[in-house]
Symmetry: C2
Subunit: 325 residues, 2 copies
Protein backbone atom coordinates (compact mmCIF):
# COMPACT_ATOMS: atom_id res chain seq x y z
CA UNK A 1 0.00 0.00 0.00
CA UNK A 2 1.38 3.37 -1.01
CA UNK A 3 0.33 6.81 -2.22
CA UNK A 4 0.52 5.76 -5.89
CA UNK A 5 -2.26 3.26 -5.32
CA UNK A 6 -4.42 6.01 -3.76
CA UNK A 7 -3.66 8.37 -6.63
CA UNK A 8 -4.64 5.66 -9.11
CA UNK A 9 -7.90 5.17 -7.22
CA UNK A 10 -8.51 8.93 -7.28
CA UNK A 11 -8.18 8.87 -11.06
CA UNK A 12 -10.68 6.04 -11.36
CA UNK A 13 -13.09 7.84 -8.99
CA UNK A 14 -12.76 11.21 -10.72
CA UNK A 15 -16.19 12.32 -11.92
CA UNK A 16 -17.87 9.53 -9.94
CA UNK A 17 -17.18 10.08 -6.24
CA UNK A 18 -18.21 13.44 -4.88
CA UNK A 19 -15.61 15.86 -3.53
CA UNK A 20 -17.31 16.38 -0.17
CA UNK A 21 -17.07 19.77 1.54
CA UNK A 22 -14.98 20.59 4.61
CA UNK A 23 -17.49 22.39 6.84
CA UNK A 24 -17.22 24.40 10.04
CA UNK A 25 -19.23 26.44 12.51
CA UNK A 26 -18.12 29.04 15.05
CA UNK A 27 -20.49 27.34 17.51
CA UNK A 28 -18.63 24.04 17.25
CA UNK A 29 -15.28 25.84 17.55
CA UNK A 30 -16.51 27.32 20.81
CA UNK A 31 -17.45 23.92 22.28
CA UNK A 32 -14.19 22.34 21.19
CA UNK A 33 -12.00 25.27 22.21
CA UNK A 34 -10.30 25.16 18.82
CA UNK A 35 -11.16 25.32 15.16
CA UNK A 36 -13.12 22.24 14.03
CA UNK A 37 -13.14 21.26 10.34
CA UNK A 38 -15.67 18.61 9.40
CA UNK A 39 -15.19 16.39 6.35
CA UNK A 40 -18.81 15.67 5.43
CA UNK A 41 -18.71 12.18 3.97
CA UNK A 42 -22.39 11.75 4.77
CA UNK A 43 -22.84 13.78 1.57
CA UNK A 44 -20.98 11.15 -0.46
CA UNK A 45 -23.06 9.07 -2.88
CA UNK A 46 -25.07 6.44 -0.92
CA UNK A 47 -24.66 8.56 2.21
CA UNK A 48 -21.24 7.38 3.37
CA UNK A 49 -17.55 7.25 2.45
CA UNK A 50 -17.95 3.56 1.62
CA UNK A 51 -18.82 4.33 -1.99
CA UNK A 52 -15.22 5.47 -2.51
CA UNK A 53 -13.69 2.12 -1.58
CA UNK A 54 -16.42 0.13 -3.28
CA UNK A 55 -16.11 1.98 -6.59
CA UNK A 56 -12.32 1.80 -6.34
CA UNK A 57 -12.36 -1.97 -5.86
CA UNK A 58 -15.04 -2.71 -8.47
CA UNK A 59 -13.33 -0.47 -11.03
CA UNK A 60 -9.96 -2.17 -10.36
CA UNK A 61 -11.26 -5.64 -11.27
CA UNK A 62 -10.24 -6.96 -14.70
CA UNK A 63 -13.19 -6.68 -17.12
CA UNK A 64 -13.37 -10.42 -17.66
CA UNK A 65 -13.69 -11.01 -13.93
CA UNK A 66 -15.95 -8.07 -13.11
CA UNK A 67 -18.64 -9.06 -15.59
CA UNK A 68 -19.52 -12.14 -13.49
CA UNK A 69 -20.62 -9.82 -10.71
CA UNK A 70 -19.53 -8.98 -7.17
CA UNK A 71 -20.45 -9.93 -3.63
CA UNK A 72 -20.00 -8.08 -0.33
CA UNK A 73 -20.87 -8.56 3.32
CA UNK A 74 -21.77 -5.44 5.21
CA UNK A 75 -23.94 -4.00 7.95
CA UNK A 76 -25.15 -1.49 5.39
CA UNK A 77 -22.90 1.32 4.23
CA UNK A 78 -20.40 -0.84 2.34
CA UNK A 79 -23.41 -2.72 0.98
CA UNK A 80 -24.89 0.41 -0.56
CA UNK A 81 -21.52 1.48 -1.92
CA UNK A 82 -20.94 -1.84 -3.66
CA UNK A 83 -24.53 -1.98 -4.91
CA UNK A 84 -24.24 1.46 -6.53
CA UNK A 85 -20.81 0.75 -8.02
CA UNK A 86 -22.07 -2.54 -9.47
CA UNK A 87 -25.17 -0.85 -10.86
CA UNK A 88 -22.98 1.79 -12.52
CA UNK A 89 -20.91 -0.94 -14.21
CA UNK A 90 -24.04 -2.85 -15.20
CA UNK A 91 -23.06 -5.97 -13.24
CA UNK A 92 -24.90 -7.96 -10.58
CA UNK A 93 -24.22 -7.57 -6.85
CA UNK A 94 -25.04 -9.95 -3.99
CA UNK A 95 -24.91 -8.34 -0.55
CA UNK A 96 -24.77 -10.41 2.64
CA UNK A 97 -26.27 -8.27 5.42
CA UNK A 98 -27.04 -8.90 9.09
CA UNK A 99 -30.77 -9.31 9.63
CA UNK A 100 -30.67 -6.57 12.32
CA UNK A 101 -29.11 -3.92 10.05
CA UNK A 102 -31.01 -0.61 9.91
CA UNK A 103 -34.08 -0.99 7.74
CA UNK A 104 -33.10 2.02 5.62
CA UNK A 105 -29.78 0.40 4.69
CA UNK A 106 -31.40 -2.90 3.68
CA UNK A 107 -34.10 -1.12 1.66
CA UNK A 108 -31.61 1.17 -0.04
CA UNK A 109 -29.30 -1.70 -0.95
CA UNK A 110 -32.19 -3.52 -2.61
CA UNK A 111 -33.36 -0.32 -4.31
CA UNK A 112 -29.89 0.04 -5.82
CA UNK A 113 -30.48 -3.25 -7.60
CA UNK A 114 -28.55 -5.65 -5.36
CA UNK A 115 -29.67 -9.09 -4.22
CA UNK A 116 -29.68 -9.00 -0.40
CA UNK A 117 -28.93 -12.19 1.58
CA UNK A 118 -29.67 -11.76 5.32
CA UNK A 119 -27.80 -13.63 8.09
CA UNK A 120 -27.86 -13.77 11.89
CA UNK A 121 -24.97 -11.76 13.32
CA UNK A 122 -24.83 -13.78 16.56
CA UNK A 123 -24.84 -17.29 15.14
CA UNK A 124 -23.54 -17.11 11.57
CA UNK A 125 -20.15 -16.13 10.06
CA UNK A 126 -20.57 -13.60 7.27
CA UNK A 127 -17.11 -14.32 5.85
CA UNK A 128 -17.97 -17.98 5.41
CA UNK A 129 -21.31 -17.17 3.76
CA UNK A 130 -19.66 -14.65 1.45
CA UNK A 131 -16.89 -16.99 0.42
CA UNK A 132 -19.31 -19.83 -0.31
CA UNK A 133 -21.59 -17.69 -2.49
CA UNK A 134 -18.60 -16.19 -4.29
CA UNK A 135 -17.27 -19.63 -5.15
CA UNK A 136 -20.64 -21.02 -6.24
CA UNK A 137 -21.49 -18.14 -8.58
CA UNK A 138 -18.05 -16.91 -9.68
CA UNK A 139 -18.58 -13.57 -7.95
CA UNK A 140 -15.67 -11.36 -6.90
CA UNK A 141 -15.68 -10.69 -3.17
CA UNK A 142 -15.36 -6.97 -2.32
CA UNK A 143 -14.20 -6.97 1.29
CA UNK A 144 -15.33 -4.04 3.44
CA UNK A 145 -11.90 -2.88 4.63
CA UNK A 146 -9.08 -5.41 4.51
CA UNK A 147 -8.45 -5.05 0.79
CA UNK A 148 -5.84 -2.76 -0.82
CA UNK A 149 -8.12 -1.27 -3.49
CA UNK A 150 -10.77 -0.50 -0.87
CA UNK A 151 -8.20 1.20 1.37
CA UNK A 152 -6.92 3.12 -1.66
CA UNK A 153 -10.45 4.31 -2.44
CA UNK A 154 -11.02 5.49 1.13
CA UNK A 155 -7.62 7.16 0.94
CA UNK A 156 -8.99 9.56 -1.70
CA UNK A 157 -10.88 11.18 1.18
CA UNK A 158 -7.47 11.90 2.69
CA UNK A 159 -6.21 13.48 -0.53
CA UNK A 160 -9.19 15.85 -0.40
CA UNK A 161 -8.60 16.65 3.26
CA UNK A 162 -4.97 17.55 2.51
CA UNK A 163 -5.98 19.88 -0.34
CA UNK A 164 -8.94 21.47 1.44
CA UNK A 165 -7.05 22.01 4.70
CA UNK A 166 -4.10 23.56 2.85
CA UNK A 167 -6.51 26.00 1.18
CA UNK A 168 -7.46 27.12 4.68
CA UNK A 169 -3.81 27.38 5.67
CA UNK A 170 -3.95 24.26 7.86
CA UNK A 171 -1.03 21.86 7.50
CA UNK A 172 -0.77 20.60 11.09
CA UNK A 173 -3.68 19.07 13.00
CA UNK A 174 -5.06 15.99 14.66
CA UNK A 175 -7.31 14.25 12.11
CA UNK A 176 -9.91 12.16 13.90
CA UNK A 177 -11.51 9.39 11.86
CA UNK A 178 -14.53 7.22 12.69
CA UNK A 179 -12.94 3.78 12.80
CA UNK A 180 -14.32 0.27 12.38
CA UNK A 181 -12.03 -2.16 10.56
CA UNK A 182 -9.68 0.67 9.73
CA UNK A 183 -10.14 1.06 5.97
CA UNK A 184 -10.95 4.76 6.06
CA UNK A 185 -8.48 5.48 8.85
CA UNK A 186 -5.56 3.70 7.20
CA UNK A 187 -6.40 5.14 3.77
CA UNK A 188 -6.52 8.68 5.11
CA UNK A 189 -3.31 8.09 7.09
CA UNK A 190 -1.44 6.93 3.98
CA UNK A 191 -2.71 9.89 1.96
CA UNK A 192 -1.76 12.40 4.64
CA UNK A 193 1.64 10.80 5.24
CA UNK A 194 2.45 11.75 1.63
CA UNK A 195 0.49 14.98 1.24
CA UNK A 196 0.23 16.55 4.70
CA UNK A 197 2.89 15.00 6.93
CA UNK A 198 2.13 17.54 9.70
CA UNK A 199 -1.19 15.83 10.34
CA UNK A 200 -1.66 13.08 12.93
CA UNK A 201 -4.46 10.58 12.22
CA UNK A 202 -6.36 9.23 15.22
CA UNK A 203 -9.13 6.63 15.20
CA UNK A 204 -12.34 7.32 17.14
CA UNK A 205 -14.51 4.45 18.39
CA UNK A 206 -17.55 3.88 20.59
CA UNK A 207 -17.14 2.76 24.20
CA UNK A 208 -16.86 -1.04 24.71
CA UNK A 209 -15.94 -1.48 21.03
CA UNK A 210 -12.52 0.15 21.11
CA UNK A 211 -10.53 -2.70 19.58
CA UNK A 212 -8.41 -0.34 17.50
CA UNK A 213 -7.51 1.98 20.39
CA UNK A 214 -6.51 -1.04 22.47
CA UNK A 215 -4.63 -2.60 19.54
CA UNK A 216 -2.65 0.60 19.04
CA UNK A 217 -1.87 0.73 22.74
CA UNK A 218 -0.72 -2.88 22.98
CA UNK A 219 0.96 -3.05 19.59
CA UNK A 220 -0.96 -6.14 18.48
CA UNK A 221 -4.43 -6.90 17.18
CA UNK A 222 -6.98 -6.89 20.02
CA UNK A 223 -10.60 -8.05 19.79
CA UNK A 224 -13.91 -6.73 21.02
CA UNK A 225 -15.78 -8.86 23.52
CA UNK A 226 -18.96 -8.77 21.42
CA UNK A 227 -19.59 -8.49 17.66
CA UNK A 228 -22.55 -6.13 18.04
CA UNK A 229 -24.68 -4.21 20.51
CA UNK A 230 -23.62 -0.60 20.00
CA UNK A 231 -25.79 2.23 18.76
CA UNK A 232 -22.75 2.87 16.53
CA UNK A 233 -22.92 -0.57 14.91
CA UNK A 234 -22.09 0.86 11.50
CA UNK A 235 -18.46 1.12 12.56
CA UNK A 236 -18.23 -1.91 14.85
CA UNK A 237 -16.01 -4.78 13.75
CA UNK A 238 -14.46 -7.51 15.88
CA UNK A 239 -10.88 -6.35 15.27
CA UNK A 240 -8.72 -4.27 12.91
CA UNK A 241 -7.71 -5.97 9.66
CA UNK A 242 -4.50 -7.82 8.84
CA UNK A 243 -3.73 -5.24 6.15
CA UNK A 244 -5.08 -2.16 7.94
CA UNK A 245 -3.52 -2.78 11.36
CA UNK A 246 0.14 -2.49 10.33
CA UNK A 247 -0.69 0.83 8.64
CA UNK A 248 -2.63 2.05 11.67
CA UNK A 249 0.18 0.94 13.95
CA UNK A 250 2.84 2.74 11.91
CA UNK A 251 0.93 6.00 11.35
CA UNK A 252 -2.00 6.47 13.74
CA UNK A 253 -2.97 7.04 17.33
CA UNK A 254 -3.56 7.28 20.14
CA UNK A 255 -7.20 6.27 19.73
CA UNK A 256 -10.14 8.20 21.15
CA UNK A 257 -13.19 6.57 22.72
CA UNK A 258 -16.61 8.21 23.12
CA UNK A 259 -19.84 7.20 24.82
CA UNK A 260 -23.10 6.60 22.98
CA UNK A 261 -24.51 9.70 24.66
CA UNK A 262 -21.62 11.77 23.33
CA UNK A 263 -22.15 10.38 19.83
CA UNK A 264 -25.81 11.41 20.03
CA UNK A 265 -24.93 14.86 21.35
CA UNK A 266 -22.63 15.24 18.36
CA UNK A 267 -25.51 14.20 16.06
CA UNK A 268 -27.64 16.97 17.59
CA UNK A 269 -24.84 19.51 17.11
CA UNK A 270 -24.39 18.45 13.48
CA UNK A 271 -28.13 18.97 12.98
CA UNK A 272 -28.14 22.42 14.56
CA UNK A 273 -24.79 23.79 13.44
CA UNK A 274 -23.85 22.02 10.21
CA UNK A 275 -27.30 21.14 8.82
CA UNK A 276 -26.07 17.58 8.39
CA UNK A 277 -27.81 14.28 9.09
CA UNK A 278 -25.26 12.02 10.76
CA UNK A 279 -25.63 8.41 11.90
CA UNK A 280 -24.37 7.46 15.38
CA UNK A 281 -21.25 5.68 14.15
CA UNK A 282 -20.53 8.59 11.82
CA UNK A 283 -20.61 11.02 14.74
CA UNK A 284 -17.93 9.49 16.99
CA UNK A 285 -15.05 11.55 15.57
CA UNK A 286 -17.00 14.80 15.97
CA UNK A 287 -17.97 13.68 19.49
CA UNK A 288 -14.30 13.14 20.33
CA UNK A 289 -13.40 16.63 19.06
CA UNK A 290 -16.24 18.29 20.98
CA UNK A 291 -16.25 16.34 24.24
CA UNK A 292 -12.69 15.03 24.62
CA UNK A 293 -10.87 18.21 23.70
CA UNK A 294 -8.31 17.70 26.45
CA UNK A 295 -6.96 14.64 24.62
CA UNK A 296 -6.42 16.58 21.38
CA UNK A 297 -3.53 18.83 20.40
CA UNK A 298 -3.27 21.97 18.29
CA UNK A 299 -5.31 24.99 17.21
CA UNK A 300 -7.28 23.04 14.63
CA UNK A 301 -8.82 19.59 14.63
CA UNK A 302 -10.17 17.84 11.53
CA UNK A 303 -12.87 15.18 11.87
CA UNK A 304 -14.65 12.89 9.46
CA UNK A 305 -18.42 12.62 9.57
CA UNK A 306 -18.40 9.26 7.89
CA UNK A 307 -22.06 8.50 7.21
CA UNK A 308 -25.65 9.67 7.44
CA UNK A 309 -27.69 6.51 6.96
CA UNK A 310 -29.70 6.61 10.13
CA UNK A 311 -33.22 5.33 10.71
CA UNK A 312 -35.62 8.15 11.45
CA UNK A 313 -36.49 6.84 14.92
CA UNK A 314 -32.82 6.77 15.97
CA UNK A 315 -32.29 10.29 14.68
CA UNK A 316 -35.43 11.62 16.36
CA UNK A 317 -34.40 10.07 19.67
CA UNK A 318 -30.94 11.68 19.51
CA UNK A 319 -32.43 15.12 18.79
CA UNK A 320 -35.11 14.66 21.39
CA UNK A 321 -32.72 13.66 24.17
CA UNK A 322 -29.66 15.68 23.26
CA UNK A 323 -30.96 18.57 21.18
CA UNK A 324 -30.14 21.17 23.77
CA UNK A 325 -26.43 20.38 23.70
CA UNK B 1 -27.62 45.13 -12.43
CA UNK B 2 -25.43 43.03 -14.70
CA UNK B 3 -23.07 40.08 -14.69
CA UNK B 4 -20.03 42.29 -13.98
CA UNK B 5 -21.52 43.23 -10.63
CA UNK B 6 -22.02 39.56 -9.78
CA UNK B 7 -18.47 38.74 -10.85
CA UNK B 8 -17.17 41.56 -8.66
CA UNK B 9 -19.16 40.17 -5.74
CA UNK B 10 -17.74 36.72 -6.44
CA UNK B 11 -14.23 38.14 -6.16
CA UNK B 12 -15.04 39.77 -2.83
CA UNK B 13 -16.63 36.54 -1.56
CA UNK B 14 -13.77 34.33 -2.74
CA UNK B 15 -12.30 32.52 0.26
CA UNK B 16 -15.20 33.65 2.47
CA UNK B 17 -18.43 32.18 1.09
CA UNK B 18 -18.48 28.43 0.72
CA UNK B 19 -18.81 26.83 -2.71
CA UNK B 20 -21.78 24.65 -1.79
CA UNK B 21 -22.13 21.21 -3.40
CA UNK B 22 -24.65 20.23 -6.07
CA UNK B 23 -26.10 17.01 -4.68
CA UNK B 24 -28.34 14.29 -6.07
CA UNK B 25 -29.91 10.95 -5.25
CA UNK B 26 -31.32 8.26 -7.53
CA UNK B 27 -34.26 8.04 -5.11
CA UNK B 28 -35.21 11.68 -5.70
CA UNK B 29 -34.78 11.22 -9.46
CA UNK B 30 -37.29 8.41 -9.29
CA UNK B 31 -39.91 10.52 -7.50
CA UNK B 32 -39.43 13.46 -9.85
CA UNK B 33 -39.28 11.38 -13.01
CA UNK B 34 -36.13 13.23 -14.07
CA UNK B 35 -32.66 13.99 -12.77
CA UNK B 36 -32.79 16.32 -9.74
CA UNK B 37 -29.71 18.40 -8.86
CA UNK B 38 -29.84 20.09 -5.46
CA UNK B 39 -27.79 23.22 -4.73
CA UNK B 40 -27.27 22.82 -0.98
CA UNK B 41 -27.18 26.39 0.32
CA UNK B 42 -28.14 25.16 3.77
CA UNK B 43 -24.44 24.28 3.97
CA UNK B 44 -23.47 27.93 3.42
CA UNK B 45 -22.02 29.79 6.41
CA UNK B 46 -24.83 30.68 8.87
CA UNK B 47 -26.97 27.93 7.32
CA UNK B 48 -28.43 29.82 4.36
CA UNK B 49 -27.56 31.60 1.09
CA UNK B 50 -28.15 34.94 2.84
CA UNK B 51 -24.51 35.14 3.92
CA UNK B 52 -23.55 35.66 0.27
CA UNK B 53 -25.61 38.81 -0.17
CA UNK B 54 -24.79 40.11 3.29
CA UNK B 55 -21.04 39.72 2.87
CA UNK B 56 -21.28 41.19 -0.64
CA UNK B 57 -23.10 44.29 0.60
CA UNK B 58 -20.99 44.81 3.72
CA UNK B 59 -17.76 44.36 1.76
CA UNK B 60 -18.94 46.83 -0.90
CA UNK B 61 -19.38 49.68 1.62
CA UNK B 62 -16.65 52.35 1.63
CA UNK B 63 -14.35 51.82 4.63
CA UNK B 64 -15.22 55.20 6.16
CA UNK B 65 -18.92 54.34 6.09
CA UNK B 66 -18.64 50.68 7.07
CA UNK B 67 -16.72 51.39 10.27
CA UNK B 68 -19.82 53.04 11.82
CA UNK B 69 -21.59 49.68 11.67
CA UNK B 70 -24.55 48.17 9.83
CA UNK B 71 -28.21 47.47 10.47
CA UNK B 72 -30.59 44.94 8.95
CA UNK B 73 -34.18 43.81 9.39
CA UNK B 74 -34.82 40.15 8.88
CA UNK B 75 -36.88 37.18 10.03
CA UNK B 76 -33.61 35.42 10.65
CA UNK B 77 -31.47 34.19 7.80
CA UNK B 78 -30.45 37.61 6.49
CA UNK B 79 -29.92 38.59 10.12
CA UNK B 80 -27.36 35.86 10.67
CA UNK B 81 -25.65 36.61 7.37
CA UNK B 82 -25.25 40.29 8.22
CA UNK B 83 -24.18 39.50 11.79
CA UNK B 84 -21.41 37.18 10.60
CA UNK B 85 -20.24 39.54 7.86
CA UNK B 86 -20.11 42.42 10.36
CA UNK B 87 -18.24 40.28 12.87
CA UNK B 88 -15.70 39.34 10.21
CA UNK B 89 -15.10 43.04 9.43
CA UNK B 90 -14.93 43.88 13.14
CA UNK B 91 -17.86 46.31 12.99
CA UNK B 92 -21.08 46.47 14.98
CA UNK B 93 -24.41 45.13 13.67
CA UNK B 94 -27.94 45.94 14.81
CA UNK B 95 -30.56 43.45 13.65
CA UNK B 96 -34.29 44.23 13.74
CA UNK B 97 -36.12 40.89 14.00
CA UNK B 98 -39.77 39.92 14.41
CA UNK B 99 -40.49 38.75 17.94
CA UNK B 100 -41.99 35.51 16.54
CA UNK B 101 -38.88 34.54 14.55
CA UNK B 102 -37.57 31.01 15.18
CA UNK B 103 -35.73 30.94 18.50
CA UNK B 104 -32.65 29.39 16.88
CA UNK B 105 -32.33 32.32 14.48
CA UNK B 106 -32.62 34.94 17.24
CA UNK B 107 -30.12 33.08 19.44
CA UNK B 108 -27.67 32.58 16.60
CA UNK B 109 -27.83 36.21 15.56
CA UNK B 110 -27.00 37.28 19.10
CA UNK B 111 -24.26 34.64 19.36
CA UNK B 112 -22.68 36.11 16.22
CA UNK B 113 -22.22 39.36 18.14
CA UNK B 114 -25.15 41.38 16.83
CA UNK B 115 -27.49 43.58 18.88
CA UNK B 116 -31.02 42.23 18.29
CA UNK B 117 -34.03 44.61 18.37
CA UNK B 118 -37.34 42.73 18.37
CA UNK B 119 -40.58 44.09 16.86
CA UNK B 120 -44.18 42.91 16.41
CA UNK B 121 -44.75 41.75 12.83
CA UNK B 122 -48.50 42.46 12.93
CA UNK B 123 -48.43 45.99 14.31
CA UNK B 124 -45.03 47.51 13.55
CA UNK B 125 -43.22 48.40 10.30
CA UNK B 126 -39.72 46.97 10.22
CA UNK B 127 -38.60 49.34 7.46
CA UNK B 128 -39.53 52.37 9.57
CA UNK B 129 -37.77 50.98 12.64
CA UNK B 130 -34.67 50.17 10.61
CA UNK B 131 -34.51 53.57 8.97
CA UNK B 132 -34.90 55.38 12.28
CA UNK B 133 -32.13 53.40 13.99
CA UNK B 134 -29.85 53.81 10.98
CA UNK B 135 -30.27 57.58 11.03
CA UNK B 136 -29.83 57.89 14.79
CA UNK B 137 -26.62 55.87 14.95
CA UNK B 138 -25.09 56.42 11.51
CA UNK B 139 -25.49 52.76 10.60
CA UNK B 140 -25.62 51.55 7.00
CA UNK B 141 -28.85 49.72 6.22
CA UNK B 142 -28.27 46.35 4.54
CA UNK B 143 -31.62 45.54 2.93
CA UNK B 144 -32.58 41.87 2.68
CA UNK B 145 -33.20 41.73 -1.08
CA UNK B 146 -33.97 45.01 -2.83
CA UNK B 147 -30.35 46.16 -2.98
CA UNK B 148 -27.99 45.67 -5.94
CA UNK B 149 -24.99 44.43 -3.93
CA UNK B 150 -27.19 41.91 -2.12
CA UNK B 151 -28.60 40.64 -5.41
CA UNK B 152 -25.06 40.46 -6.79
CA UNK B 153 -23.97 38.37 -3.79
CA UNK B 154 -26.88 35.94 -4.17
CA UNK B 155 -26.02 35.80 -7.87
CA UNK B 156 -22.72 34.11 -7.01
CA UNK B 157 -24.83 31.05 -6.22
CA UNK B 158 -25.93 31.17 -9.86
CA UNK B 159 -22.32 31.32 -11.09
CA UNK B 160 -21.63 28.14 -9.12
CA UNK B 161 -24.75 26.44 -10.48
CA UNK B 162 -23.65 27.23 -14.05
CA UNK B 163 -20.17 25.79 -13.47
CA UNK B 164 -21.30 22.73 -11.51
CA UNK B 165 -24.10 21.87 -13.93
CA UNK B 166 -21.77 22.22 -16.92
CA UNK B 167 -19.35 19.78 -15.24
CA UNK B 168 -22.23 17.28 -15.26
CA UNK B 169 -22.99 18.05 -18.89
CA UNK B 170 -26.17 19.99 -18.04
CA UNK B 171 -26.67 23.27 -19.90
CA UNK B 172 -30.46 23.24 -20.25
CA UNK B 173 -32.84 22.87 -17.31
CA UNK B 174 -35.53 24.49 -15.24
CA UNK B 175 -33.83 26.03 -12.19
CA UNK B 176 -36.31 26.29 -9.32
CA UNK B 177 -35.44 28.80 -6.61
CA UNK B 178 -37.05 29.30 -3.20
CA UNK B 179 -38.38 32.84 -3.53
CA UNK B 180 -39.31 35.52 -1.01
CA UNK B 181 -38.47 39.06 -2.07
CA UNK B 182 -36.62 37.77 -5.08
CA UNK B 183 -32.99 38.50 -4.22
CA UNK B 184 -31.73 34.98 -4.73
CA UNK B 185 -34.02 34.32 -7.68
CA UNK B 186 -33.08 37.48 -9.56
CA UNK B 187 -29.38 37.07 -8.75
CA UNK B 188 -29.34 33.50 -10.03
CA UNK B 189 -31.34 34.53 -13.10
CA UNK B 190 -28.84 37.26 -14.00
CA UNK B 191 -25.90 34.90 -13.51
CA UNK B 192 -27.46 32.17 -15.63
CA UNK B 193 -28.54 34.60 -18.35
CA UNK B 194 -24.84 35.27 -18.89
CA UNK B 195 -23.32 31.89 -18.08
CA UNK B 196 -25.97 29.28 -18.89
CA UNK B 197 -28.58 30.83 -21.17
CA UNK B 198 -30.24 27.43 -21.72
CA UNK B 199 -31.51 27.48 -18.14
CA UNK B 200 -34.93 28.84 -17.16
CA UNK B 201 -35.24 30.21 -13.62
CA UNK B 202 -38.54 29.70 -11.84
CA UNK B 203 -39.51 30.94 -8.39
CA UNK B 204 -41.12 28.54 -5.92
CA UNK B 205 -43.37 29.79 -3.12
CA UNK B 206 -45.68 28.45 -0.43
CA UNK B 207 -49.44 28.37 -0.96
CA UNK B 208 -51.28 31.58 -0.02
CA UNK B 209 -48.01 33.54 -0.18
CA UNK B 210 -47.42 33.34 -3.92
CA UNK B 211 -47.01 37.06 -4.60
CA UNK B 212 -44.18 36.48 -7.06
CA UNK B 213 -46.01 33.83 -9.10
CA UNK B 214 -49.04 36.14 -9.32
CA UNK B 215 -46.87 39.15 -10.13
CA UNK B 216 -45.18 37.26 -12.96
CA UNK B 217 -48.58 36.19 -14.28
CA UNK B 218 -50.10 39.68 -14.16
CA UNK B 219 -46.98 41.57 -15.18
CA UNK B 220 -47.09 43.93 -12.20
CA UNK B 221 -46.20 43.75 -8.51
CA UNK B 222 -48.89 41.86 -6.57
CA UNK B 223 -49.16 41.62 -2.77
CA UNK B 224 -49.88 38.85 -0.31
CA UNK B 225 -53.00 39.18 1.78
CA UNK B 226 -51.07 38.64 5.03
CA UNK B 227 -47.49 39.42 6.06
CA UNK B 228 -47.02 36.18 7.97
CA UNK B 229 -48.64 32.89 8.94
CA UNK B 230 -46.83 30.33 6.81
CA UNK B 231 -44.70 27.48 8.07
CA UNK B 232 -42.35 28.77 5.36
CA UNK B 233 -42.09 32.25 6.91
CA UNK B 234 -38.36 32.45 6.15
CA UNK B 235 -39.22 33.20 2.52
CA UNK B 236 -42.45 35.15 3.00
CA UNK B 237 -42.44 38.84 2.07
CA UNK B 238 -45.39 41.04 1.21
CA UNK B 239 -44.34 41.54 -2.42
CA UNK B 240 -41.36 41.33 -4.78
CA UNK B 241 -38.95 44.28 -4.68
CA UNK B 242 -38.79 47.31 -6.91
CA UNK B 243 -35.35 46.25 -8.11
CA UNK B 244 -35.92 42.50 -8.14
CA UNK B 245 -39.29 42.46 -9.88
CA UNK B 246 -38.18 43.88 -13.25
CA UNK B 247 -35.39 41.27 -13.33
CA UNK B 248 -37.79 38.48 -12.38
CA UNK B 249 -40.28 39.71 -14.97
CA UNK B 250 -37.69 39.79 -17.74
CA UNK B 251 -36.01 36.46 -16.98
CA UNK B 252 -38.10 34.18 -14.78
CA UNK B 253 -41.25 32.14 -14.57
CA UNK B 254 -43.78 30.78 -14.52
CA UNK B 255 -43.83 30.45 -10.73
CA UNK B 256 -44.50 27.23 -8.85
CA UNK B 257 -46.59 27.01 -5.70
CA UNK B 258 -46.43 24.18 -3.12
CA UNK B 259 -48.44 23.31 -0.02
CA UNK B 260 -46.99 23.25 3.47
CA UNK B 261 -47.43 19.47 3.49
CA UNK B 262 -45.41 19.19 0.31
CA UNK B 263 -42.66 21.36 1.78
CA UNK B 264 -42.53 19.07 4.82
CA UNK B 265 -42.48 15.96 2.64
CA UNK B 266 -39.52 17.47 0.81
CA UNK B 267 -37.80 18.09 4.18
CA UNK B 268 -38.24 14.40 5.01
CA UNK B 269 -36.83 13.39 1.62
CA UNK B 270 -33.83 15.68 2.08
CA UNK B 271 -33.23 14.03 5.46
CA UNK B 272 -33.43 10.50 4.08
CA UNK B 273 -31.84 10.91 0.68
CA UNK B 274 -29.47 13.87 0.86
CA UNK B 275 -28.55 13.84 4.57
CA UNK B 276 -29.44 17.53 4.70
CA UNK B 277 -31.32 19.51 7.33
CA UNK B 278 -33.67 21.85 5.47
CA UNK B 279 -36.05 24.48 6.85
CA UNK B 280 -39.63 24.60 5.49
CA UNK B 281 -39.06 27.70 3.36
CA UNK B 282 -35.83 26.19 2.06
CA UNK B 283 -37.67 23.09 0.89
CA UNK B 284 -40.28 24.64 -1.42
CA UNK B 285 -38.15 24.38 -4.58
CA UNK B 286 -37.37 20.72 -3.92
CA UNK B 287 -41.07 20.16 -3.16
CA UNK B 288 -41.99 21.70 -6.52
CA UNK B 289 -39.53 19.43 -8.33
CA UNK B 290 -40.75 16.30 -6.54
CA UNK B 291 -44.50 16.89 -6.37
CA UNK B 292 -45.29 19.20 -9.30
CA UNK B 293 -43.23 17.41 -11.91
CA UNK B 294 -45.94 17.87 -14.52
CA UNK B 295 -45.33 21.62 -14.49
CA UNK B 296 -41.60 21.23 -15.16
CA UNK B 297 -39.81 20.66 -18.46
CA UNK B 298 -36.70 18.75 -19.46
CA UNK B 299 -34.64 15.74 -18.41
CA UNK B 300 -32.97 17.58 -15.53
CA UNK B 301 -34.25 19.99 -12.93
CA UNK B 302 -32.02 22.06 -10.64
CA UNK B 303 -33.35 23.26 -7.29
CA UNK B 304 -31.97 25.41 -4.50
CA UNK B 305 -32.24 24.24 -0.92
CA UNK B 306 -31.89 27.72 0.42
CA UNK B 307 -31.59 27.27 4.19
CA UNK B 308 -31.43 24.85 7.09
CA UNK B 309 -32.19 27.02 10.12
CA UNK B 310 -35.13 25.13 11.49
CA UNK B 311 -36.18 24.76 15.12
CA UNK B 312 -35.89 21.19 16.29
CA UNK B 313 -39.61 20.86 17.04
CA UNK B 314 -40.55 21.90 13.49
CA UNK B 315 -38.05 19.47 12.01
CA UNK B 316 -39.18 16.60 14.23
CA UNK B 317 -42.82 17.22 13.31
CA UNK B 318 -42.02 17.13 9.60
CA UNK B 319 -40.12 13.86 9.92
CA UNK B 320 -42.75 12.40 12.18
CA UNK B 321 -45.66 13.22 9.90
CA UNK B 322 -44.04 12.88 6.50
CA UNK B 323 -41.06 10.60 7.07
CA UNK B 324 -42.54 7.75 5.08
CA UNK B 325 -42.69 9.76 1.88
Amino acid sequence: MDIQRIEAAAERLNGHARVTPLLSSPFLDEIAGRRVLVKAECLQHTGSFKYRGARSAVSALPDAQRKHGVIAYSSGNHAQGVALAAQQFGISAVIVMPSDAPRMKIDNTRALGAEVVLYDRMTEDRDAIGTRLATERGLSLIKPFDEPEVIAGQGTCGLEIATQAAELGVTKADVIVCCGGGGLTSGIALALEARAPGMRVRPAEPQNFDDVARSLASGRIEHNARPTGSLCDAIVTMQPGDITFPILHRLCGPGLVVSEDEAQKAMAQAFARLKLVVEPGGAVALAAALYHADQIQGDTVIVTVSGGNVDRSVFLRALDQFGNG
